[in-house]
C-alpha cells in the first residue's frame, strides 16, 4: 500500500518551486531551529534565517567561517563544525565552535571556540572537510562524518557534552569512498549514511546528487539498496537534478516530530535564479526501509481522498450525476440529445467519437451510456443550485462531481512553513474556500479572504500522503489537521502520527 501511495505522489507532484526570499547559499548546514526561527550556514560565512521556514533572508556571519559547516543542537548548545584549510589540497581540518543560541540579538549569543575534531595531513587517504554531525537517538552517542573524494568518508565519535573528539587517539573509521558532504540519520533500526556524489561547483553543469546506504551499526558497513558497499562506491540515489533545479548536495535531516521529516540541501543551480546556488528543502518519505525525496506541492486541481475512509472531501451540496441521471432498465429509447451534462449530452468540441451505444444489446438503458464521451463536470455546469452562503464540508464516494474537485493554490505573501507556502483550497472554478471554523470544524465559505483559517499547510508524510493543516483556527490554540473521523464527515483534530485518519491523497481528476 505504501509503495502505491509513494509512486502515485512522486508522479503527481513532480514539479517544484524554490523557497521564498533570499536563498542563495552553498554547502548549507542542516537547517536548525532556535526559538521559532530557522537558521542555516554555508561556505564562506554565508548564513540565512527565516521566521517560518519558507521565506528566508540573509543572516549574521558566524564567528568561525570556512567551508561547508554543519550545525547540531544538543542540550543547551548549538555546535557548529566548519572545515578550515590548513594548507595544501587535502591538508585540512574540522574546527568546532558552540553557542547557546543562534539568535544574534540574544544576550546568550556567543561563539565559544572548541578543539579541532578531525584533520587530514595532505598525504593520507582523507580530506577532512564537509563535516556532518549526528546524535544517535537510540544511544545518545554523538558522531561526526567528514571527507571529500580524496580517500574516505570517515567517522569519529564526539562527546555530546563538549562536542569534541571523544577518542582523539583512535583511528577514524572509513565508511565510504568517491563522495563528499556526508551526513547520517537513524530510522527504524537502521543507520543511514547520506553522501553526495558527482561534481560540485559547476553551476548548471554540476552532477551533484545525494546517495544513501544503510547499516545496522553506526560504524558500518553501509550498503546501498543493491547491496553494494559505499566503501566500494555504492549508494542509492535519494535525489538528483530535476525540473529547473540542478545538482542537489549536502543533505541535512529536519525532523519535525510526529513522523514528519524533511531534509535540507542546496541546489547547485536554480535556472530560474540565473543558475545560482540556492537552499532547498524537501519532504523525506520512506519506501521499503529506504528514504525517498518528496516534492514541494506547487498546486493544481485535485481530488482529496482520505486514506482512512477512501471517501473524498467535498462541499456538502446536492450532487448532480456526471452525464445526467441514470436511466433504469435494460432497453428503452435512446436518451435524447440534450443540454450539457444531461442525458444525451452532446460530445465536447473536439471530442473523439465514443464506443457504440448499447453493448451487449442493452440499447439505451442503464448500461448503454450516452454513446459519446461525457465531458467533465464543472462548477459552472451545476453551481446554480448551490447555496449562496457558507456550506458545510463533507465527504462522499468520489463521483467526478464539481463539488468534489479542489483547486489548491499557493497564496503569495501569505507566508509559509518549513519548506512550503500556505495554500488556499477552493472548489475548482469558484472562489468558495475551505475554512476552519471557530469550533475547529470545517466549512466552505463563499469567497476566499486570506484569513488565517482559510490558509492551509500541506506536508507530505512518510507514506507519500499529505497532512493538511489550517494556519490558524479562531480561538483554538492547539494545532489541528484535517481529519476523516467518519466516511461522510471531516473535521479538524490534533495530528496523531499512529493513525491514518489525517492522511490524505491528492489525485488529479
Amino acid at each position: 500500500m505504501k509503495y502505491v501511495l509513494l509512486t502515485l505522489f512522486l508522479t503527481l507532484t513532480s514539479a517544484a518551486f524554490a523557497l521564498n526570499g533570499a536563498i542563495g547559499i552553498h554547502d548549507p548546514s542542516t537547517v536548525v531551529q532556535d526559538h521559532g526561527k530557522y537558521y542555516v550556514y554555508g561556505t564562506g560565512g554565508g548564513s540565512l534565517v527565516s521566521d517560518d521556514g519558507w521565506t528566508w533572508r540573509a543572516g549574521v556571519r558566524p564567528a568561525l567561517t570556512g567551508a561547508a559547516p554543519d550545525v547540531i543542537h544538543i542540550g543547551d548548545r548549538y555546535y557548529m563544525y566548519v572545515a578550515v584549510g590548513l594548507g595544501g589540497e587535502t591538508k585540512a581540518g574540522v574546527a568546532m565552535v558552540w553557542s547557546k543560541t543562534l539568535d544574534p540579538k540574544s544576550p546568550d549569543y556567543k561563539w565559544v571556540k572548541g578543539a579541532m575534531v578531525a584533520s587530514s595531513n595532505g598525504v593520507e587517504d582523507s580530506n577532512a572537510i564537509d563535516p556532518g554531525a549526528f546524535l544517535d537517538p537510540t544511544t545518545g552517542r554523538m558522531w561526526l562524518v567528514y571527507g571529500s573524494y580524496v580517500g574516505y568518508i570517515r567517522l569519529v565519535e564526539l562527546n555530546p557534552k563538549t562536542g569534541e573528539d571523544l577518542n582523539p587517539k583512535e583511528k577514524p573509521i572509513d565508511l565510504a569512498i568517491n563522495c563528499e558532504a556526508s551526513d547520517m540519520m537513524y530510522h527504524d533500526g537502521w543507520y543511514y549514511l547520506l553522501a553526495t556524489h558527482g561534481s560540485c561547483c559547476r553551476g548548471a553543469d554540476s552532477g551533484y546528487n545525494i546517495r544513501v546506504g544503510r547499516s545496522r551499526k553506526v560504524t558500518g558497513p553501509y550498503l546501498d539498496a543493491e547491496g553494494v558497499d559505499m566503501i566500494q562506491g555504492g549508494g542509492t540515489q535519494l535525489i538528483g537534478s530535476g525540473g529547473r533545479f540542478i545538482g542537489p548536495g549536502h543533505f541535512g535531516l529536519i525532523n519535525l516530530g510526529n513522523g514528519v521529516e524533511k531534509f535540507s540541501m542546496h541546489w547547485e543551480a536554480d535556472l530560474d535564479q540565473g543558475g545560482r546556488s540556492v537552499l532547498g528543502i524537501r519532504p523525506l518519505l520512506w519506501k521499503n526501509g529506504w528514504p525517498v525525496a518528496g516534492e514541494v506541492l506547487t498546486g493544481g486541481t485535485f481530488e482529496i481522498h482520505s486514506v482512512h475512509t477512501g471517501t473524498s472531501l467535498d462541499m456538502a451540496v446536492e450532487g448532480v450525476p456526471v452525464g445526467g441521471p441514470r436511466r433504469f432498465g435494460f432497453g428503452g429509447p435512446r436518451p435524447p440529445a440534450g443540454s450539457r451534462g444531461g442525458p444525451g449530452a452532446r460530445p465536447a468540441p473536439g471530442a473523439r467519437p465514443g464506443p457504440p451505444r448499447g453493448p451487449g444489446g442493452f440499447g439505451g438503458g442503464m448500461f448503454g451510456g450516452t454513446g459519446h464521451p461525457i465531458p467533465d463536470q464543472t462548477a459552472a455546469d451545476v453551481s446554480k443550485n448551490w447555496p449562496a452562503g457558507t456550506v458545510n464540508a463533507g465527504m462522499s464516494n468520489y463521483l467526478c462531481q464539481a463539488q468534489q474537485k479542489w483547486q489548491i493554490t499557493p497564496v503569495p505573501d501569505a507566508g509559509g512553513y518549513i519548506g512550503g507556502p500556505y495554500f488556499k483550497i477552493t472548489i475548482a472554478g469558484t472562489d468558495r474556500a475551505l475554512a476552519a471554523t471557530a469550533d475547529a470544524e470545517l466549512a466552505v465559505v463563499p469567497a476566499f479572504t486570506g484569513a488565517p483559517e482559510q490558509l492551509w499547510r500541506l506536508d507530505q508524510l512518510a507514506d507519500g500522503s499529505w497532512r493538511i493543516m489550517p494556519k490558524a483556527v479562531p480561538n483554538w490554540k492547539e494545532p489541528v489537521a484535517l481529519s476523516a473521523v467518519g466516511a461522510s464527515f471531516a473535521t479538524l483534530s490534533k495530528f496523531d502520527p499512529k493513525s491514518d485518519v489525517q492522511h490524505w491523497l491528492l489525485k488529479t481528476p
Binding site: 456538502a316 451540496v317 446536492e318 450532487g319 462522499s396 469550533d439 475547529a440 470544524e441 473521523v485 467518519g486 466516511a487 461522510s488 464527515f489 473535521t491 483534530s493 485518519v501
Partner: protein, 232 residues
C-alpha cells in the same frame, strides 16, 4: 395478511412491550424475538458496551416515502408527519396517525451493533422499501461530556437530532457503515439526552447504527440507554 390480523398483532406486541417497560425494576420477563436480531426489552436499562453502540430504540412503523437525495431527504426531515415528531418520547405501543394510517411505536433491543429495519418490517408486517422510519431513544450520561460526537451509519439516507438539534445528515443510496456520518462536536448533558433519527430507504436492506465517540474519537461505553425520561 389481512389488516385485522396485522392490527391484532400490533396491539399484542404493544401490550407485551408496555408490560415490560412499565415494570422497571421488576423481574426480567422473557424477551420476545422479533426476527433473528431484534427482541423486546426486558430490563429497565441497557448499557453501551465496549463498542459503544446504542442497542435500544423506539421505532415507529414506517411511512411511505420516495427519494434519497439530499434535497428530498431534507424535505422529508422538515415535513410534519405527526404531532410532536421532534420532541415525542413515546410509550411502547403508542400510536400516531399519518395520512390516515395508524402507526405504532415499538420498543426493540438489537442483538447486533445495528437495528435491522427489514427484520422490524418482517416481524411487524410492515413494508421496508420506499419508506421512512422514525426512531428515538434516550442516552443517559453520568456527567456532562463536552466535545463528543454522535457517529452513525444507515441504510439508506438518514437525518439525526440530539436533544432537538439536527446534528447529522447522510444522503443517497448507501449501506450502513459504522461511523459513516459523524456530528460536529456536541455536548452530552448530564442525565438524559434524546437521540432521534429518520431513516429513509428505497429498496432492499435497511438498518442503522449509532454510538457516541469521545474527544479521541473512541467509542463511549457505559452510557445508560432507556426508553423513558426519569419523570415519566
Amino acid at each position: 395478511m389481512n389488516v385485522y390480523r396485522k392490527y391484532l398483532i400490533s396491539a399484542l406486541a404493544a401490550f407485551i412491550g408496555l408490560a415490560v417497560i412499565a415494570m422497571p425494576g421488576s423481574a426480567a420477563a422473557a424477551a420476545k424475538s422479533y426476527g433473528s436480531t431484534l427482541t423486546s426489552p426486558t430490563t429497565p436499562t441497557l448499557v453501551t458496551g465496549a463498542n459503544g453502540f446504542i442497542k435500544r430504540w423506539f421505532v415507529l412503523d414506517p411511512i411511505p416515502a420516495r427519494g434519497l437525495t439530499r434535497d428530498l431527504v431534507q424535505a422529508m426531515a422538515k415535513k410534519q408527519y405527526f404531532h410532536d415528531q421532534y420532541t415525542i418520547i413515546p410509550k411502547n405501543g403508542e400510536q400516531e396517525t399519518v395520512d390516515g394510517k395508524t402507526l405504532t411505536w415499538r420498543a426493540v433491543d438489537t442483538k447486533l451493533y445495528n437495528v435491522d429495519l427489514r427484520h422490524y418490517g418482517q416481524a411487524f408486517h410492515q413494508p421496508w422499501t420506499n419508506v421512512l422510519f422514525w426512531a428515538v431513544t434516550i442516552v443517559n450520561s453520568p456527567r456532562e461530556m463536552q466535545n463528543v460526537r454522535l457517529a452513525i451509519g444507515s441504510n439508506a439516507a438518514s437525518v439525526w437530532w440530539l436533544n432537538g438539534q439536527e446534528v447529522i445528515g447522510i444522503y443517497g443510496d448507501r449501506q450502513t457503515v459504522i461511523d459513516d456520518g459523524v456530528s460536529e462536536r456536541v455536548t452530552l448533558k448530564k442525565g438524559p439526552n434524546v437521540v432521534r433519527t429518520m431513516v429513509v430507504n428505497a429498496g432492499g436492506a435497511t438498518d442503522f447504527c449509532a454510538r457516541f465517540l469521545d474527544v479521541n474519537n473512541k467509542p463511549i461505553k457505559g452510557l445508560t440507554v432507556t426508553l423513558r425520561e426519569p419523570h415519566q
